[in-house]
Amino acid sequence: MAVPSRVLRSEWTKIRSVRSTVWTLGVAALVTIALGALISALVRHDFTRLSPHDKQVFDPTFVSFAGTGLGQLAMIVFGVLVVSGEYATGMIRTSLAAVPRRGVLFTAKLTVAALLALAVGMLTSFAAFATGQTLLGQYRAALGDPGVLRAVLGGGLYMTLITVFSMAVAVMLRSPLLSLGVLMPFFFLISNILANVEVTRKFGAYLPDQAGQHIMRVVPDGDGAPYGPWGGFGIMCLWVAAALMTGYVLLKRRDA
């Protein structure tokens, strides 16, 4: 197994040695934590004015993750740049000439980036939870409450899966502009619209981000999603697996 470990080390060097890594991951963490803190502070201030329904489904843990929707966009940029940086520069040909077995390169690159995303995602998730709960004051949840630890760990996993999904899409599309042009509007707007418009709601609930976000909830929202937190996470995993398979097959077949 000497070759895969070398390739992993090489990919680690690659990912460390470009500035975009620090920037994108830093922005992802910052936006997620800061926006979560802001919303938490606002909710605490306005809690008494919430409708009875909103009070009933009030989920302090999920409130502190309110920044995830925006923060994940920076994770998407990170994922796309890790992959398409090689294609856009032509570095991929140098890399593939050195690692003729494309599966090894593909796996190593995704593993390194996914582990990094996991580390950053987990840190972000715990930090966002801690900050959010502090700001929520008397409405806060504790890590020991039932389901809370799962939701916080889930926040880190969600960030990781979004990154892996983006990387797989970037492997398919190769161009950074095209990949970002597809992924950003989709996760920022389209999936939210599809999940909230009455006609498409049933279908929208099965989109990767909509399904995956359920793992960050402790109190189910009133939507009556046909799956639980882990069920939703499983659906997201299926999406990611499908994207990875497609990306791998294309990489294997295509001329570099």
């Binding site: 000497a2 070398r6 390739v7 990919e11 593939l96 000439a97």
Partner: protein, 408 residues
Amino acid sequence: MIEAVGLTKRYGAKTAVYNLSFQVRPGAVTGFLGPNGSGKSTTMRMILGLDEPTAGQVTVGGYPFRRLPNAPRQVGALLDAKAVHGGRSARQHLMCLAQLSGIPARRVDEVLGVVGLQSVAGKRSKGFSLGMGQRLGIAAALLGDPQVLLFDEPVNGLDPEGILWVRNLMKQLASEGRTVFVSSHLMSEMALTADHLIVIGRGQLLADMSVRDFISYNSADFARVRTPEGEPEQREKLTSALSEAGGQVLPEQDGALRVTGLPLPRISDLAHGADVRLWELSPHQASLEEAYMRMTSGAVDYRSTADQRAGLMEPAPGMPPQGGAYGYAPGAPGQPMGPGGFPPGTVLPGYAEPPAAPQGHAPAPYGQSQGHAPAAAPAAPPAAPPAAPAAPPASAPDMTKRDSEDAR
């Protein structure tokens, strides 16, 4: 050792490489020549397993590249000097490549020294010039100390010092028993660097021979013979005398004759026998560049043409197009064209009298091109005879073809 057998690559309807078979042997620099778009880079990519051949196969040391054990230690390649992530420093770029093949970090600094980039090793490669990029690419190819090296146009963008360095590096690598395969579109460069040549055009093999053979086949000695200016009948006489004696006679652009197959003293004797005076009889050697151009002339995809600047000209009714190729400008009426005014190749051996006898023009020996052009072109009246400019282009392509056939 690189071996290609029936290598073919199609991109949709376009065939980039067709039925290419060759061997690249160790211990020599093999030059890979061809015009732009002839399939050199595609072939290189197929050797490296980056592109899958449509048909045929290519192996390195007996293995298809993708199944080669520890490929980076066996094959080093420079494909594209700009194929580097611009945000990464030169050292980091080489470091991640070194780690891929388990090469110690020490080696990275070694190769940086070899290519002379130590001073900018920590700089981001975004700011590198093309020449620095080539050096970085060569460093990457040398990293694994491989037995097989591929370089795609390594001297592009290098300064003269760099070109000399690459030339010596290739030779040195080959002398160490390595297989060195270098692509270029410059014959002159390959003549200095390579031991063996593989020439392709439009994706097909045109030549596979040693440089020495290429030189002896293609740059045969020839003699330049010039008969007195303004006496075409003398030239005709000499042409037929030389042809009868077994020589091959080709007219040159400036009105001289290029004679192959006869030694100089014999040409002199024949001229004396035919009672023809000579103004010039000199030994010459065709350049390799010329031979290469002849070889690939049928296989050039992107050919430049004279810039007519038609879109920039104010339309003048009846004016013949200006800015044509040298020698195509029509003469003023009543003023015949000088000998230098004939376009390349209009005067064929055995051809009838030239269109206009050159009496009215006072020819200055060896100076025709300056003498006629300013006089003829601006003086051209609106109603220039249309036949004069139309005729020469028709015969010109004929001539080039004949030229290449005769020379082989």
